[in-house]
């Protein structure tokens, strides 16, 4: 018992016993929460996956690739020979559309582009940062299927990004390419599944083609 009442000011109410630890936990926890939320919020998984911008021409891959069976390489011609897959020039569209659906409203921007010579301005969906170098031909020619990075384009009315395309995601495959290798003739067949176990197939293909994906920084950060 304290005789001197003046010291009562130093006796805090009971609820303050939990205040200090609660504030500490709250602060630290809050910090942790903010970090996690921001990290997740800015990560490619949150920002890029699901990106499906509206294009100037409502080109449907589901129709052309899925239904009509046009191969990826008919339009994306340089995917096996150069770094860029290259979006096709209007000429390529007009190869068919000179006669097919020549009166379609949806194709007006294409017809305009062809006659004026001004390009169709597509919105880029799969965008890597400028400081990164990615070479399509290195992947396509070695048996990485289009679907591994771009998903089931042949079912998309509007092209959507399905994979995060982050550095960590790329490194996953570079460290373990067996999961994504396929025989070269099936590279553009988006619905192909291996008959045998993918890992076993991948191992075999890796050995046959001597596939050693580099993991040096300067592979991509040139």
């Amino acid at each position: 018992m304290n005789e001197d009442k003046s010291n009562d000011i130093f006796i805090f109410p009971k609820w303050t016993w939990v205040l200090r630890p609660a504030v500490a936990v709250g602060a630290l926890g809050g910090l942790l929460y903010v970090t996690v939320v921001v990290a997740f919020g800015f990560s490619p998984r949150a920002t890029d996956v699901g990106y499906a911008p509206v294009q100037p021409v409502p080109y449907s891959h589901a129709l052309h690739v899925g239904q009509l069976g046009v191969d990826c390489r008919y339009c994306h011609t340089s995917v096996e020979s150069t770094a860029h897959a290259s979006v096709p020039p209007t000429q390529t569209c007009m190869n068919c559309h000179k006669t097919v659906r020549a009166n379609s409203e949806k194709l007006i921007p294409v017809f305009e582009s062809y006659s004026t010579g001004m390009p169709v301005e597509w919105i880029r969906v799969h965008d890597l940062p400028d400081y990164v170098y990615f070479n399509h031909s290195a992947h396509v020619r070695r048996g990485v299927g289009c679907v591994s990075c771009h998903g089931r384009i042949d079912t998309m009315e509007v092209v959507t990004q399905v994979e995060p395309l982050s550095m960590g995601w790329c490194l996953e495959c570079h460290r373990n390419p067996e999961q994504h290798l396929r025989p070269l003739e099936f590279v553009t067949q988006l619905d192909w599944v291996p008959e045998e176990d993918q890992a076993a197939l991948g191992r075999r293909l890796r050995e046959i083609h001597n596939i050693n994906p580099p993991q040096d920084c300067n592979t991509c950060h040139r």
Binding site: G41, P53, S78, T82, V87, Q91, W122, I123, R124
Partner: protein, 812 residues
Amino acid sequence: MSSMNRNTGVTYWRSLDELERTPEFQEAVRREFPDDNWDQLPPATRRQFLMVMGASLAMAGLTACRWPKEEIVPFAHRPEGRTPGVPEHFATSLELGGAALGMLVTSFDGRPIKAEGNPMHPDSLGSLNAIAQAEILGLYDPDRSQRLLLREGGQEYVKQWSDFESVAADVFSGSGAGVAVLAGSSSSPTRAGLRDRFLEAHPEARWFEYEAISRDNERFGTAMVFGAAHRVQPSLATAGVVACFDADPLFDHPAALRLAREFAAARNPKTGSGARLYVSESNYSLTGARADHRVAVASRNVPQLLARVTQQLVAVHGLELPPAAAGYAGSVSQAPTDEESRFVELLARDLASHRGESVILVGPRQAPAVHALAAILNTALGATGSTIAYALEPDSERPHHMDALGELASAIQSGEVSTLLILGGNPAYDGPADLGFADLLAKVPLSIHLSLYDDETSQRCSWHLPRAHTLESWGDGRAWDGSVTTRQPLIEPLYGGRSDLEVLALALGGGMESGYELVRGVMREAAADAGPEEFWRRVLHDGVVEASAWDRVTPQARPGDLAVAVDAFRELLDADRPTAERPELVLVADPQVHDGRFANNGWLQELPDALTKITWDNALLVSPATARDMGLSNGEIAEVSVGGSTIELPCYVLPGQARNSLTVSLGYGRTAAGQVGNGVGVDAYVLRTSSAPHVLSSVSVRATGRSYPLATTQDHFAIDTLGFAERNVRVENLVREASLDAYLANPNVFHEHEHHPPLVSLWKDHEYEGEQWGMAIDLNTCIGCNACIVACQSENNIPVVGREQVLNQREM
């Protein structure tokens, strides 16, 4: 072993300051980071802090969680063979001083990014010089003129090409009375054709050609003795002895790249012909820096030296000159110095014992009579056909560039010119001061200047037309040996410019003919057996027309001409030696900005001069002895006066400069070059007169006592005194020298001088697998042309830092 130089005090030094370890130099070395003068940094105020941080904070606003949308914009019609992202190469050319240099330019997605040499071009052989490498930067220069301007009544009006077309239709009609065209030197067959058509359509019009840095003295020299102007084509591939008199064939020659390559091959110890190099000159050229024997002589005394060599050759070695040329071997009254005597003796002996393998070259600053003598000597020494070849100069009636401008100036003066069309060039800036061309332009009622920049001349003309850059225009030209070279654009004119061919065609009244049509027309006409279209495509691909070099001729000296030439030469022998009170001043083309046309090119301005290492300025080059006599110190501003005109510029003490002969580079001190070139250096053209365009006498120099810090990289990253001393002790291992004889006797002579047995490593060495890349520079063939520096800057996007940062040792 005894042939290796022992440490007999061989010291490698970069500047006299370093050699003498002056207190200033030591201080500069002590400060590892010259700009870290912490006491003198400007104080950072709170206001500045907030300004800087405020900017960053503003940019930290989160506009979107995803980066801004990017577009893919493909072609509507993709050209055949074009794959986006894959670079293509196109053969084109650059013309400087009337000779075309072939280039292979890399185009990435339709934009030229890098210039390389064209292996099929005889003057390039796959290489380029610094200026050609830097042309890429000139193409993208934002200071280039982007609009047509009409200056009238004190006002400036922005015009369109259609406006000019209607004016041109008016002005260039009729017989051409009062019309004059001033153009730069060009070997373009298309332009020659247009000129002929123009003069035919307008018989009273006059055509003048002017080039500030002209090689006409050589032309006139050959004309003096051979009766017609000839093109001198040296070849060093089989040369055993090369003698240069104020000449710089390895760098300052239209075929310099080829000559440097041949020289390198000739200097191969095992397979080369030797090419022992004797150089006599007043300033320090790159050829002089490579010379085996060099004597520094004032430019006006070079004829005496050549005369002595002739005398020695005839008297002692029995060289036979044509009878009418006997006067060349007469005695020289001026007493030679010991150095000169020795040089003459060695050279004469070597020339005489290498007949058919030797060549005498004279530089463009020497008078025609000296070139004439060289031609006679070369013929007598049997050089024709092996180390020198001749072809007839096309357009042999053309007057000397200086005379042409003089004629135009007097025509303007007497009011004969009412319309003046200037195709390229910058005569208001680089014309000789005595003509006063800048003021004369005001007298011409209608003057039109086609130019890359709105420069000094354009600002004094009525019309300024933006010119298409070399990389934006169709054209052609001829290499030094006459090979027809094409030029094709890598990109459409960025700023709506037109080439000189197109403007000339406009003046012909043909409307807007495109350069493509003009050049193609000329090429197709020239097609021999193959179909014209196939020929055209082949020529565009190669950049050069096969076997189109001029035919070689063997000119004969005519006795009547010889007598006149001898007299002209002997007059030159009266020149006395310059003194410290009356030194000689030599105006030279700058190795970086040439005659000033490249003054706005940052790469070239920041390119350290090969010997002085000066960036961003020009200086008065003076030898140490002369500086002492004149009371000048390094970096001190000197006042140079010639015939009433005066300039003030800093001086630079360069060991190796001739006694009492000073050198200044032309091409600086520009006022309308652009943001990079304005105000850099001092304009030496004010001292130039049409009678003495390069070598000036009766010069007076006065030290002003003020100094100017020249941004030179000479002493950058120098070592301290102890290190310097230790380096000199070890230098025989660091820089292994041996004479050619020692090397041929024992090719391992360099390896044998080991000062310790192979070292055993204390730890496991790193295993290197796979390929390794290294870069080695063969210093036996490097001449210091600096093209590699500009090429690296071009390839790797290396920034230009500016004069102040170079002074802070921050040059890239």
